[in-house]
């Protein structure tokens, strides 16, 4: 064991870090390729898939949004175990607006994204000062308890739920709406997290007290991050309400909390692209495993444990490393 692994940046990587040396198509493609790939996938896949797999693509996009929303929270130091809370808030907002007031889906979805985001943020505002697992525990409990409240008070249709929502115009509209939004969220939020604003959020995750020392009100920033994440997940919820034409207690189900975490962990936390990759792998996989029914959640659980222990960086970081660097074994100097 007197060898070590050496990692060296590929020449093209080193040269393409500064924009002025991008002088060949190859170098430009090297940089643009990974970014164009998801865009091309999202635009072209709906055209080649049959109806069944189009539905699968739809849930890929929904879970990718939820996973991106989870990742935003995680990057700001808030580990959520209950994305279903935001998802459900959005779903019920859209359902109420459509069912009781008869607003059209084109109005309810954006309104519900904002309203659901606000409700989710307000519900978690009291516990914003809690750190680490304390925050996680509360997020785990809240959706499960909201279900009981709806059951007990029989508001919003109680156990029956609200049905008969207006559907969206067509499957193509649905698909391209959610895929476009996923891409916008992915690239827009990646940019946001690279800006100074994102630097503050990441700083809160790394060392919140030193961010306070810098004279920054971290609760205000955390509340904003919470709203951004909640609004994205609420959008997914509102969208699914109109796709299923139904909203009921299942929107607070554990699935909507677990799968996004699994996607983000498998794909690689800390980069929103990892969350997208994870959803792109896990959702079709679970569709393919539909035959085994309830065992699916068992597999998600196993994926979570195995990836946390064996590949904590996630698939995306792994691929990124292989793409930018090459590795070789070298002798250790005596």
């Amino acid at each position: 064991m007197n060898k070590r692994k050496e990692r060296i940046d590929r020449g093209i990587r080193a040269r393409s870090q500064d924009i002025f040396v991008l002088c060949s198509w190859r170098e430009m493609l090297y940089l643009a390729g990974p970014r164009l790939l998801p865009i091309a996938l999202c635009l072209l896949l709906p055209l080649v898939l049959d109806v069944y797999w189009q539905k699968v693509l739809l849930s890929v996009a929904v879970f990718a949004l939820l996973a991106i929303s989870w990742d935003i929270l995680a990057q700001s130091g808030m580990i959520s175990l209950g994305q279903a809370l935001f998802f459900g808030c959005g779903a019920y907002s859209a359902g109420t607006m459509n069912h009781y007031w008869g607003l059209s889906p084109l109005l309810t979805i954006p309104l519900a994204a904002i309203l659901g985001g606000l409700v989710g943020t307000l519900l978690l505002l009291p516990v914003l000062r809690l750190r680490g697992i304390y925050f996680s525990m509360v997020t785990l409990i809240l959706p499960l308890m909201l279900v009981r409240i709806i059951e007990a008070t029989k508001i919003f249709g109680g156990t029956e739920g609200l049905s008969g929502m207006q559907p969206l115009p067509s499957i193509w509209f649905e698909l391209y709406l959610i895929l476009t939004l996923t891409l916008v969220a992915l690239f827009g939020l990646r940019r946001l997290m690279d800006s100074d604003y994102g630097l503050v959020l990441k700083g809160i995750n790394d060392n919140d007290r030193s961010v306070i020392n810098a004279g920054i009100n971290i609760y205000w920033f955390k509340a904003q991050a919470l709203f951004i994440a909640a609004a994205i997940a609420a959008f997914a919820g509102a969208f699914m309400t109109h796709v299923y034409m139904f909203v009921g207690m299942p929107v607070f189900a554990l699935d909507y909390s677990i799968l996004p975490i699994a996607a983000a962990v498998v794909g690689g936390p800390g980069t929103l692209a990892g969350a997208f990759t994870g959803a792109l792998i896990l959702v079709p996989l679970s569709e393919a495993l539909r035959g085994i029914g309830g065992l699916r959640i068992v597999f998600y659980g196993l994926f979570l444990v195995v990836f946390i222990v064996a590949l904590p960086e996630g698939i995306f970081h792994y691929i990124q490393r292989k793409y930018h660097q090459f590795e070789r074994w070298v002798e250790v100097d005596a």
Binding site: I133, Y134, R148, G294, I297, V298, G301, I308
Partner: protein, 290 residues
Amino acid sequence: MLAGTIIYAIINSAILAMIAMGFNLTFGISGVANFAYGAFYVLAAYGVWILIHLVGLPYAAAALISIGLTTVLGALMYRLVLMRVKGQALSEVIATFGIGLVILELFRYLGFVGFEYTLPVLSDKSLIIAGTYVDMQRILIVVLTAAMIAGLWIFAHHTSLGLAFRGIAQDERTALTFGMDSDRIAALAVSMGAALAAIAAVIIVPLGSISPEEGYDVLIKALAVCIIGGLGSTGGVILASFVIGFAERFTDSYIGSHWTMIVSLAALLAVLVIKPSGLFGHQKELEERI
């Protein structure tokens, strides 16, 4: 009516304290929030059921073997999974949650759902206290909980292992300089928490039936009690179980059974807003809250 409500509130509090104690012990010593706690509870109950009905062992042997197996599983979980991610709260939470999911959903998949999945009571006699029928099992739960709390207190204050536990809980680095192996203590803490979950399952499950949902319920109850009491504080856990236990039973009798969960939620949120470190969580205030 009032006397009966009070008696059943005390029993309910004892059940809550029993459920929360193991979670609290693990967290207080090793700092690991064991989100697989509810799964261990259900696993132990199913273990006893399987050993009695499918293997044909007598009740006492089945209970002991099941508790033992759950304890070993707790230690294995620490050794194989948690030790590799120690100190990273996010990874610990996700890993234990994943393990809990695997156990619970596996039992659901195997079809262990129904009223026949219950455990025998220790004694089927009943007593009349202040005009209320109370069966022996419930009285045993109260007695055993009290005995368990007393036993844990003696263990923590008068045995060298218990003192090592408290040493690690107070200051891990100083404890290390005294030669205490923090990994071993933490593994013991996780497995003792699992053992407490298993004991709670063996004595509480005869009141109802076992189901995978029970696992999530137990986890939520344990979390609620521990958060309200202040994580890692035994006194807080006892006080919080009485607060929730009485609140639940009184809403059940005077308002309606649907509202019991909402009362717990309201209590939880109120505590978090006013005093996030819980009723008795003084020393740790700075770490939990900024």
